[in-house]
Symmetry: C2
Subunit: 518 residues, 2 copies
Amino acid sequence: MLGTFCVRVCSGFRATSCVRTLHSLPGITVAQIDEEVAKLLELKVRLGGDDGKHQFVLKTAKGTRDYNPKQMAIREKVFNTIISCFKRHGAETIDTPVFELKETLTGKYGEDSKLIYDLKDQGGELLSLRYDLTVPFARYLAMNKITNIKRYHIAKVYRRDNPAMTRGRYREFYQCDFDIAGQYDAMIPDAECLKIVHEILSELDLGDFRIKVNDRRILDGMFAVCGVPDDKFRTICSTVDKLDKMPWEEVKKEMVNEKGLSEEAADQIGEYVSMQGGMDLAERLLQDQKMSQSKLACAGLSDIKLLFSYLQLFQVTDKVVFDLSLARGLDYYTGIIYEAVLTQAGVAPVSNEAQNGTNAEESVNVGSVAGGGRYDGLVGMFDPKGRKVPCVGVSIGIERVFSIMEQKAEASAEKVRTTEVQVMVASAQKNLLEERLRLVTELWNAGIKAEVMYKMNPKLLSQLQYCEEAGIPLVAILGEQELKDGVVKLRVVATREEVGLLRSTQCMLGPSEDTRSI
Amino acid sequence: MLGTFCVRVCSGFRATSCVRTLHSLPGITVAQIDEEVAKLLELKVRLGGDDGKHQFVLKTAKGTRDYNPKQMAIREKVFNTIISCFKRHGAETIDTPVFELKETLTGKYGEDSKLIYDLKDQGGELLSLRYDLTVPFARYLAMNKITNIKRYHIAKVYRRDNPAMTRGRYREFYQCDFDIAGQYDAMIPDAECLKIVHEILSELDLGDFRIKVNDRRILDGMFAVCGVPDDKFRTICSTVDKLDKMPWEEVKKEMVNEKGLSEEAADQIGEYVSMQGGMDLAERLLQDQKMSQSKLACAGLSDIKLLFSYLQLFQVTDKVVFDLSLARGLDYYTGIIYEAVLTQAGVAPVSNEAQNGTNAEESVNVGSVAGGGRYDGLVGMFDPKGRKVPCVGVSIGIERVFSIMEQKAEASAEKVRTTEVQVMVASAQKNLLEERLRLVTELWNAGIKAEVMYKMNPKLLSQLQYCEEAGIPLVAILGEQELKDGVVKLRVVATREEVGLLRSTQCMLGPSEDTRSI
């Protein structure tokens, strides 16, 4: 019976060796049999009872993915570039929990609220996974009565959206936000956000880009003077938002046929939203007979003018364009809005199909890689007394950046290294494990990134092959002769050049007291 | 009616200014009234309807916390130390989603499974938040058929435990794992894990520490030769685990009175578990009349001997002790186990009360700051064919390290900086905003971390005060005279020393074409 049982458990566990040695041992004791039986019974329990079957579905949750070491190496590089920029601009960082009280998220995302992940009610508070980093930031400010902060936050957020993973849309994805909260003089922090986008996109070297700028107040003013009824502002705005994916004729058709706007109003809007320019355009529109009738629009236009004056000082006007067709989806924007798009062909544009408008922050634009704006009302929604903390911020579309960097790495001949090991400590002959461990310890203690194979007697060839695979540039080779001479042979893997290095006096003294006792 | 409504909405939103300007404007147009009404109605909707009340509970979920910028600065420092060590040892890193299929976690945590956070069933797969990083790691290896990897993973895990936040026990907390998977020669990777613990704890400078080592097989063998019935191995083991918090007499009482062990067996165990030593103890026990009867124990003891021989080569035996009372809680260990404890008094020992045994990984020991062991069976549990991937790993008790570092920072006179800004660009007189922005742009473009106040005309004193608060070491002061002379005055905040620096030719040329147009 023990035999049969063993056959069954041997498949998955360490039973094989125990059982084999048990049989081969002549002077077996009762205690030994007892302990072997105990081990086997325990294994049986772990195997899930007598039927011994454990069927796992080996997958990650829908819309999520693991990051393998290569993806992590790319991710780290991108994060380093972005974080360096945030730090250069004096930002602090904070972190918030992955879940919030459900009611904290309620009423912040409009229709998209249906995409929020709720936790199961297991007693206690009702919780939801965070949907973005902006609402937790506003909650943090209100809760801690913070009225001034410049912070970045890089973390994962969760949306039960229809995943399109091949196009970089996931249910778990990173957001990478920089925000300036506080009552300051107009447009200075707003301009710094654009400077930051400019710096990051230049440094990431993703190809040419353009930063489109508009203002919520200009949009609203424009709708008013064009005769859009008040209750149609939002829906017409979301149609305007499609101009980067559809020609004007189709957009107009949607406005008139689907949304019931008068053809005249649509045509007037069409005239404005085709306008692009810089400070000059803002000046022209301030003189525009119709536009100038809207106080809101004028306030927005004056701010655009001021913004451009700061952008000139920041030396970023080459990439920034005032574009009246920009209409970002999120409800909470109150002033300036902006969005950066890659303009170079061939950078894997997200197909139209992926743009269903539900994922406003990430997929607003075909080549959108950053976006943001001013939201002066959000923090006040959390404050019991409604105290406002004006905020302006930017979110880098980091998942899209990852995808592009991964594609670039794939296309490039250069291998992405997943470790930073500088030296492999190898041996040319057998029985040199101790010497290898001794040398690698010296290297580690000196702060050098080094590795050694976990084998008693690895072949030199397999040690060298490992270096080539892992991209380790140097091998320190130990052999009997080198040990006798007190040297180590250092080989450059790529060129096979070798130099003999004299080991330091400390090493020349031979085994320390510690090691002699082995 | 409009008036009454305005009073109500003014509390939380930007309505005040709109309404005020509306009244003061003489030549008001219909379009303007329309747009103002639209804005107000929209605000009303956002305020949640006519009653205008929005009551938020301003808190984070039970057992969780935000990290403020100071805590983040400490966290970053700790992570950098730890990650540098992992990289020095050639580790790659991976990441897995925060939630897994519920069934992936099922049957891995025994009684503690009740602490798993489940997500609400919103249609589709049943999901749970990860409980540790080890099970997702095993799932990742099995799913990708990886048989060799040395990886670290630093991420948050979730346990619906009874939180004790003042003692550093949270429902959302970091784990910081390093593991070596693969079929290698005995004890080499195991020894490297201990070397890593030694390096990290030394570098973090948390005070003196000790790394206790034992082996699951030695424990099981010991129980067998002491006459513990097979079905009592696990429960007696968990009583032994309490030896670091209770005297032997109480532990014995629990064994005999509560768990029904014979007094003779308990006394025999008592003799063994009081033993501590190094390689010599392992040698002695291999000769021990009783212990040597257990093949399992002998295998464990031989491996301890081999381990110590490698630890000597790694120069870490000063802190490592072979301790037969060490019995870590987790079920999945199959070989060597270890745990690092801080031995210095006054490092905020976690009180006994916090040790309810439910949080085995984090609170095993009073001063426990790291722990781990060998688990050769876990990956096989995920493989359809039960293929084993031997693993050994270590988890750094990072939350406890954070607490200690925060206490040290609190006690120290040195201020924790939350930004890395090197220079504040300030002005001595009014109307120099443009000049400040021009200079800060030069600094940013040169990669220098710099800030400027977001005010048109900040007082010099408030700019200097900001530097002192934020710990910014240098101020670049611009004044009319400096601009005329083509210099910038650089002041060391701490000493108030000042030097005049000639600005580079590029700057001497005066406003560029770009900026002249303002």
